[in-house]
């Protein structure tokens, strides 16, 4: 199946419009009916430094960037050097012969296609349009009709007037014709099933899905501080929230952002903050506040490579421990880990419902690749019918308060209850005047240090999550029962693990794949069953410590047959790497 896909990439210096070029190509093919998956390589710079944008084009849905590369557009030699390891046999490189002479090592089966991209753009329009020349040339060599990008040009440049659209069209056509005349290299895109042609689907990344999921789940306040790679969440909610009276607030820092999310939740409005590792570090004290005061809180951490400032534009899955253990003292919390764009959408609803129900902080861990890789998603897979808002024990009316008062004599915010959950009254209701506090407290919300009540309140805070069972939903499994080998992953690795499973299965191995969607509480019972039924277990993670494996050891148990396969260079797994790691042990 992999052979059927086509991988295209454009590379150059940052600030040259590489991202928008990639997006034009991806979006157009997406709208034609292909499933596209994009991957951005970039740095925390505005100008200079290498950047590239890869597009995997497939007739079926893909969850990762793909291993090979069929056609590369290079605006400098650095782009060629960077992507050579990915280039497939028989692939080609279009390079900008105006600015350099492309070189590849001898013996590689790659066709070099010099096209004076800059010169042609300059002659026909403006230098910046060299990207359009490249898109035209690419289109010709992969068998797209010359007018394939017509719709996009109108949409993108229509506002700037017909002349601009026309110039772009001319430049694109020049690239198209030049390529046809100057090279014999061709590699057609995979065929598109009739039913897929022009089919309406979504083109979004995990950060978009987080934003959409939050809004649909009733979130009305998003307070955040800009940070790579989470800022796109702010951009998306800004598109969606004002219509519903919602507020997107850029706070002065992550401490304020998280405290604001807590304040709004206390006042009864679903609120969240989005950040990355460095921001989550600043939110540790707020996690404690949410836990101690039993105020719902939702934090989305789009994980980048740490430690400290680390590699802001590179992916990692190393915040699991941070999310699970940070904050002093002992609190309960929930940590979710979506693997796909669709998961990210539904997990936001789950996060808000769980935060409201258990009155705890919920952290959603999204890795950078999932957060930033725009991809095709089927419309029916973002199903609003599955959205159900559950606010838990929330008193919103005077009548509800009266019922409590009739039962208890007066409203008690921290009432000791059977299930450990006390009803939260919205501030503003008569006869429910109350204190919410970070100090240890009694049922009424009086600060106190009495030993008996301290123990009761601590037990209550922990007991309230007893009813939460992650086993039922937090795992996704493929492959045969009792496998010789079980591949385990979390976050965005699902695509690679699944394709590796298919390859290994085709090679005769009995392999299953388990993707874990919640890290705390860990669906331990369900994982234990899977581990016990498998011959060998490999846990794939983008971190050094093998954090999920450590959690499994802690919550599921020690098994010699369970090992970690780790990659922590900031780059996502390739399928070939997964397969090679399997072959080392299997």
């Amino acid at each position: 199946m992999t052979n059927a896909d086509f991988n295209w990439k454009v590379g150059g210096a940052q600030g040259e419009g590489i991202d928008s070029t990639g997006e034009i190509f991806a979006l157009t093919l997406h709208r034609m009916g292909y499933y596209v998956y994009t991957y951005r390589h970039f740095m925390s710079l505005i100008k200079g430094g290498h950047t590239n944008y890869k597009v995997r084009i497939s007739p079926v849905q893909r969850r990762h960037r793909g291993d090979g590369l069929d056609l590369l557009v290079a605006f400098d030699q650095g782009s060629i050097d960077f992507s050579l390891p990915e280039m497939s046999p028989g692939s080609a490189i279009i390079y900008d012969s105006t600015s350099f002479e492309g070189r590849i090592p001898e013996g590689r089966n790659i066709t070099l296609i010099p096209i004076p991209l800059t010169q042609m753009a300059r002659d026909l329009g403006m230098v910046i349009m060299k990207n359009m020349v490249a898109i035209g040339a690419s289109a010709a060599l992969v068998g797209l009709p010359q007018d394939a990008f017509e719709g996009y040009l109108e949409e993108r440049f229509g506002k700037k007037g017909d002349a601009v659209v026309e110039t772009n069209r001319k430049v694109l056509a020049a690239g198209y014709n030049y390529a046809l005349e100057h090279t014999d290299w061709r590699k057609p895109l995979p065929g598109l099933p009739e039913a897929s042609k022009g089919k309406k689907r979504l083109f979004m990344h995990g950060n978009d899905a987080v934003a959409l999921g939050a809004v649909v789940a009733g979130c009305r306040v998003v307070a955040a501080y800009p940070i790579t790679p989470a800022t796109e969440i702010l951009y998306s909610v800004l598109k969606l929230l004002p219509k519903y009276g919602g507020v997107v607030l850029q706070a002065e820092d992550e401490i304020a952002a998280c405290q604001m999310a807590i304040g709004a939740n206390y006042a009864g409005v679903r609120a969240m903050t989005s950040t990355s590792g460095p921001g989550l570090s600043l939110m540790s004290e707020s996690l404690g506040l949410s836990g101690a005061s039993e105020t719902p809180l939702v934090i989305v951490d789009v994980m980048r490579a740490g430690p400290s400032t680390g590699m802001p534009t590179k992916t990692e899955q190393a915040d699991a421990f941070h999310a699970i253990y940070s904050a002093h003292g002992e609190i309960q919390r929930i940590v979710l880990a979506p693997s796909t764009v669709e998961d990210a959408f539904y997990d936001m609803q789950r996060a808000f419902n769980l935060a409201d129900k258990y009155q705890v902080p919920v952290i959603v861990l999204v890795d950078l690749v999932l957060g930033l890789s725009k991809q095709t998603v089927d419309l029916e897979d973002i199903d609003f019918e599955r959205i159900a808002i559950d606010r838990g024990k929330l008193l919103t009316t005077k009548d509800e308060v009266d019922a409590v008062v009739a039962r208890l004599g007066h409203y008690k915010r921290y009432e000791l209850t059977e299930d450990g959950i006390s009803a939260r009254a919205l501030p503003g209701l008569e006869d429910a005047v109350h204190m919410v506090l970070s100090y240890e407290h009694d049922e009424e919300g009086n600060e106190m240090e009495e030993r008996g009540m301290r123990v009761k309140q601590t037990r209550k805070r922990f007991n309230k999550m007893r009813s939460l069972n992650m086993d039922e939903w937090a795992l996704r499994r493929t492959g045969p029962q009792n496998p010789d080998l079980l591949l385990v992953g979390w976050g965005s690795t699902e695509g690679q693990l699944e394709e590796a499973r298919e390859q290994l299965t085709a090679g005769g191995l009995k392999v299953a794949h388990l993707q874990v969607g919640a890290l705390y509480p860990l669906p331990a019972a369900a994982i234990r069953k899977e581990i016990e039924a498998a011959g060998k277990v490999l846990v794939f993670e983008n971190n050094y410590e093998g954090q999920l494996l450590e959690l499994i050891k802690q919550k599921v148990g020690h098994y010699d047959k369970v090992q970690a396969s780790l990659k922590f260079d900031g780059d996502p797994f390739y399928v070939s790497e997964v397969v090679a790691m399997v072959k080392e042990v299997a």
């Binding site: 009305r220 219509k243 405290q259 503003g428």
Partner: protein
């Protein structure tokens, strides 16, 4: 009505742990009086505090209260107001909480201008941790952590607020609760962020700046002929020339508050919005991602 409301506040209040003679008693009492005079019952008010002796303000006020972390009253308070515009939101703290650990939030709250009132009980000393130097301690002030005298210059909150563009800046004194209550009334009514810095003596750890000292050194703006509280430049100069030793309303100006600047922000409180609408708007919402 007003008298009954004060009683109502007192009924909800928890019993105090402040030292006898603490200036903060007068601050709470003045706030109860001001809120009662404005006919705001306790359930319609939320008071948010951080940590410190001042952090007990809401326990003793008798309204709804949120006791957050050290220095973090303002972010919580602003978000509560944004979430439910029908609530009257007071943030309260001390000089350590507000001008030390929380000063970043203070300056941003000033410029953000959410419609809340911020009361700072400023006693120039850390009380709850039993007597260390504070950001507003005068240079040379001897405390447990500055045995040779504080080396730093004090924060000047009034000038900071004025420079940050605050629409309401006032200073009170616990020794004149009547004036303080009047200032608080005006501050709560002011649409936008209002700061009341209150000189509130710490009778246990600050033996230099006592009630008597303040009484002798504070200039009462209510008695200053010709003082114009609508002239920001004049206010600046006055505060500077008096080394901040003023009481009364120092500056006021009508400005559009943060919420008035928000696109789509509804007249009805956000907390009462219908959450199911986006589900009905599926086609439109998804169109943004095609």
């Amino acid at each position: 009505m007003a008298v009954n409301l004060v009683t109502e506040y007192k009924e909800h209040a928890q019993s105090s742990t402040w030292c006898p003679g603490c200036g903060d008693f007068a601050v709470v009492a003045a706030m109860q009086k001001a809120l009662a005079a404005l006919e705001l019952p306790p359930h319609q008010v939320v008071a948010v505090t951080g940590i410190g002796c001042s952090g007990k303000f809401n326990y003793y006020l008798g309204a709804n209260g949120f006791n957050s972390l050290h220095g973090r009253s303002l972010p919580v308070a602003q978000a509560i107001k944004i979430a439910n515009r029908d609530l009257t939101v007071i943030a309260a703290g001390g000089d350590g909480d507000g001008y030390g650990i929380g000063i970043g939030h203070f300056l941003h709250a000033v410029r953000r201008n959410v419609d809340i009132t911020y009361v700072v009980m400023d006693n120039h000393i850390y009380g709850l941790t039993t007597g260390q130097t504070s950001p507003t301690s005068k240079k040379g002030f001897v405390t447990k952590t500055t045995p040779y005298g504080a080396a730093e210059y004090p924060i000047r909150p009034l000038e900071l607020a004025l420079a940050g563009g605050a629409g309401f800046v006032a200073q009170g004194f616990s020794g004149d609760p009547k004036q303080l209550a009047e200032i608080m009334k005006q501050a709560v009514q002011h649409k936008g962020f209002s700061l009341i810095n209150v000189y509130s003596p710490c009778v246990t750890f600050n033996h230099e700046e006592t009630y008597e000292w303040w009484r002798q050194n504070l200039v009462n703006l209510d008695q200053e002929q010709g003082y114009d509280a609508t002239d920001r430049t004049a206010a600046f100069r006055y505060v500077y020339e008096h080394n901040g030793l003023l009481r009364g309303v120092i500056f006021r100006e009508e400005r559009r508050d943060y919420q008035s600047e928000l696109p789509g922000y509804a007249a009805e409180a956000l907390v009462r919005q219908d959450l199911s609408q986006p589900v009905k708007d599926r086609a439109e919402l998804l169109a943004a991602f095609m």
